[in-house]
């Protein structure tokens, strides 16, 4: 009997035929009947059905695999989408009773994504009874409850509602809401249990949401920090209003794009590591442009901040149009390295994307580097000296003009680093800088001029405040409210969070 040899021995030919032949409703019923026995031998047959390797002829079923063949008259078994769904669900359910814990866990993950049907209940019951692992048993109980919540027996519904309270899935929350809708659940005891469950689930989900707000706030704060750090040097330490700061970021982002393109064409094998070269490249290119700007334009304008504002605005227009001429007005695509895509799932409704985590870490690394540079190196000492008393610094032999150039190109280079980071989370186009420049100035002004610590607090504070308000008011209103808050704050503390102490009558 070729037939019996090709089909798993525990599955009778009649059962196999019932699953493979007939109309979809009957086949699904037969499938679930067989699956309810939780026979692991059913797995290969269901797989074969899903892979289109089953043929039928004259009421007999043939599995065509490897050297096994079917008569020439045999026809393919056609599975419509509903049948495929049922087959996949059955396959997942069958794995639930596998002796391997790993397979069972994977099966549960798979099953969670599908909507469960009443017909799968017997199998889940069986798996629940057989399950030995405590964590998996709890998850199975939840799954069982999501099915039983619509059972006809009020006692079963009550039990289901009580076990649903242990869930932290957004899907369960909406399921409970559905059941609590007028007319859905009539039994008062069950309604009460459902309400308790709803409160419990929502309480648990709320924690995920709160942590999510904190995370996106810190993430936005870290971006603001990167963007504002360069400004804190050029504006805070040197008193130069650099309206072209955003365009220096854009240059950093385009440098990243070029490095990425180079890797794609020359070293496709190392594509994942292009970022290692992109970081120094974006710093170097932006710093070079910054040095050129300082030497040609900005050095003539020291002490005239309003004029610097206009001149650097002009520079930003030229840089933007230059990039449009070179690369076109469209955004260019910067691809994340594969190790930066995806994220780590902390809670059922909280995923932390790797690229955001990387930017938070990167921002603090850059901050650490800048702090060390300003406080511990000779260049930093000179920069601080020139900031505090330019003429005295010149008297003791510091070449102040050169220090100006170095400090400005350091600020520009940090802008380039910010652009490199932004290329990983947003669009790279000629307008990239424009969208951040107002925010960056707000951070520096709020933080207080001349203090890196103020910039850090202001960046994180504004990021968190922005995301916190977004929860109530939506993105645009939140942004407006933050700007209004800053304007009001500046009225109260015109010097920002951390003021430079001085005795000058001029602020």
């Amino acid at each position: 009997m070729a037939l019996l040899a090709s089909v798993a021995h525990a599955l009778t030919p009649d059962q196999a035929a019932a699953i493979a032949i007939g109309d979809t409703d009957a086949r699904i019923a037969a499938l679930n009947r067989s699956a309810a026995d939780a026979d692991p031998e059913l797995i290969p047959f269901v797989r074969a059905l899903l892979d289109g390797e089953v043929k039928t002829a004259d009421g007999k079923v043939y599995v065509v695999q490897g050297d096994k063949t079917a008569p020439d008259t045999a026809e393919d078994v056609i599975n419509n989408n509903r049948m495929r769904g049922a087959l996949e669900a059955a396959l997942g359910a069958l794995k639930l009773v596998s002796p391997d814990v790993q397979v069972r866990t994977e099966a549960l993950d798979e099953l969670r994504k599908q909507s469960l049907e009443e017909a799968q209940l017997p199998l889940i019951e069986k798996a629940y009874a057989a399950e030995t692992d405590a964590a998996l048993k709890a998850r199975l109980e939840l799954m069982r409850a999501t099915i039983l919540i619509t059972a006809t027996d009020p006692a079963k519904r009550l039990a289901a509602a009580q076990s649903l309270a242990g869930s932290s899935e957004p899907a369960v929350k909406s399921l409970i809401q559905e059941r609590l809708a007028p007319g859905a659940e009539t039994d008062n005891a069950v309604r009460g249990a459902l309400m308790t469950a709803q409160a419990a689930v929502e309480g648990r989900l709320a924690w995920g949401e709160r942590l999510g707000v904190v995370f996106t706030g810190v993430s936005l704060g870290s971006i603001l920090l990167l963007v504002a750090l360069g400004l804190a040097i050029t504006y805070g330490l040197m008193g130069v209003i650099n309206m072209a700061h955003g365009e220096l970021m854009m240059i950093g982002a385009y440098a990243t794009y070029l490095v990425q393109d180079l890797f794609r064409q020359v070293l496709p094998g190392l594509f994942d590591w292009y970022i290692v070269l992109a970081i120094p490249a974006s710093f170097a290119v932006a710093a070079l442009v910054g040095a050129v700007l300082e030497r040609t334009v900005i050095r003539w304008l020291y002490g005239r901040p309003l004029e610097t504002l206009l001149a650097t605005w002009g520079i930003s227009l030229v840089l933007m149009q230059g990039v449009r001429t070179l690369f076109g007005a469209q955004n260019v695509a910067v691809e994340n390295p594969s190790w930066l895509s995806g994220g780590v799932q902390v809670m059922s409704n909280l995923i932390l994307p790797y690229n955001r985590l990387a930017i938070i870490a990167f921002a603090f690394l850059v901050l650490g580097g800048v702090t060390l540079m300003i406080n511990r190196t000779r260049l930093g000492l000179f920069v601080r000296g020139v900031t505090q008393n330019r003429r005295m610094a010149a008297c003791v032999g510091i070449n102040t003009a050169r220090i100006d150039t170095y400090a400005f190109s350091l600020g520009a280079g940090i802008a380039g680093l910010a652009g490199c980071a932004l290329s990983q989370v947003g669009n790279v186009g000629p307008d990239l800088g424009q969208s951040y420049i107002v925010d960056a100035f707000m951070v520096v002004v709020t933080g207080g001029v001349g203090q890196l610590a103020g910039t850090v607090y202001a960046a994180l504070g504004l990021g968190l405040l922005n995301k916190f308000l977004e929860g109530f008011a939506g993105a645009v209103l939140a942004k407006i409210m933050v700007l209004v808050c800053i304007v009001v704050f500046i009225q109260k503390r015109p010097q920002g969070l951390f003021a430079m102490k001085g005795r000058s009558a001029e602020a």
């Binding site: 304008l301 206009l310 149009q321 209103l477």
Partner: protein
């Protein structure tokens, strides 16, 4: 106190004989020459002034009013505002609301409500539109909204002695916040499309040549009026205090003046001037949208003033004409080079021409005088 002063120094006349002749010539050009060249001289004649040219000059004259306003606050008082684009746009929106109501049932949806409200499925006018069918009320708003906003904002900013670049940056933040607000559909001012498709003003069709010419003449007279008013302010004792604040604010304080009142009043006046310019601009150009509130628009006003020459009153008007004339020429002939030119202009003016075109002109004329003497 001012009475005492005027007895001591006899009131200087506002302008010299040459100056009055210039003003008269400007009035004659706006009121007589341009209407004749545009309406009476037949098309195709060498002297015909096209409708395009008239609307372009009308637009630039609105800009020139803004540049004058900027000069009062920046050139004479030393406060660089990056919020004048907002005041201009608010004046424009005040006029735009009235023009939207004047469309009546001639919109695409044949409704009493403006089209964008029908599109958003609104059933009645939002509260801000309550009196928008009244011309007088909306014109009052054109003056009051920018004026009050400037008064409140300026009071708090100047009271906390925010000055210099700090002030520029927070005015930019204010403008940015307003732009975001106006971009929202729910704010009730047409979202990012703003207002357009105007049909008539005071029940007179806007497309009619005589209406357009009336608006042009009005704008020209307003510009000349603003110039004379600014001239009077600058020459008065009040104007001299403003310049003293610009040059040494602390010293002004130590001599017993309170700069707050001076700064606040000129700041508010300057904002109202921009609002009026915006209201004249909208019916001539036929559109107002939140793009007018972008940071770039406000900074451009500053560059018109700087190009023409700060702390001269004729300079900003020349600057507005020069920069915007160049803009319309470039955008027709070399559109991709316009931003290069504008950017270079920003840099060149700050580096080489701190006194703008007027300063350049003075330099040449004094050099010429020296040559004739020698």
């Amino acid at each position: 106190m001012s009475a005492v002063m005027t007895t001591q120094t006899p009131p200087r006349s506002l302008l010299g004989a040459k100056g009055w002749a210039g003003v008269m010539a400007a009035v004659a050009t706006v009121v007589v020459l341009v209407p004749i060249l545009n309406l009476l001289v037949p098309e195709g004649s060498l002297f015909h002034l096209s409708d395009y040219a008239v609307s372009l000059i009308g637009k630039i004259m609105c800009y020139a009013i803004c540049a004058l306003a900027m000069d009062l606050i920046w050139g004479y008082t030393g406060i660089l505002s990056l919020g004048h684009g907002l005041f201009f746009a608010l004046g424009g929106y005040g006029m735009g609301m009235y023009l939207m109501r004047q469309i009546g049932r001639d919109g695409n949806y044949k409704s009493d409500l403006p089209d964008f409200m029908v599109f958003l499925d609104w059933k009645e006018l939002p509260w801000a539109w309550t009196f928008s069918d009244s011309f007088v009320f909306q014109m009052a708003l054109v003056v009051l909204v920018p004026g009050l906003l400037a008064l409140v904002f300026g009071y708090f900013a100047f009271r906390s002695r925010i000055k210099g670049v700090y002030f520029s940056i927070i005015t930019q933040a204010m403008t940015f916040a307003a732009m975001l607000l106006f971009f929202r559909n729910e704010t009730g001012f047409g979202g990012n499309n703003g207002f357009t498709d105007f049909k008539r003003i005071l029940d007179i069709p806007l497309a009619q040549p005589s209406t357009r010419m009336t608006l042009f003449v009005l704008t020209g007279l307003t510009l000349i009026g603003c110039y004379l008013l600014a001239r009077w302010i600058v020459g008065s004792k009040y104007g001299r205090v403003l310049q003293a604040i610009r040059d040494a604010e602390t010293r002004v304080m130590f001599t017993g003046y309170d700069p707050l009142a001076y700064k606040l009043s000129i700041w508010t006046f300057s904002a109202v001037m921009c609002g009026v310019a915006g209201a004249l601009y909208v019916p001539q150009v036929g559109i107002i949208n939140p793009g007018e509130m972008s940071a770039a628009a406000s900074i451009e006003i500053a560059i018109w003033t700087a190009v023409g020459g700060r702390a001269t009153l004729i300079g900003p008007i020349l600057g507005a004409f020069f920069v915007n004339g160049a803009k319309s020429w470039f955008t027709q002939v070399f559109p991709e080079f316009w931003l290069y030119f504008l950017g270079a202009l920003f840099i060149a003016v700050t580096l080489f021409l701190p006194r703008g075109i007027v300063g350049l002109f003075d330099k040449f004329s004094s050099a010429a005088k020296k040559e004739t003497r020698a």
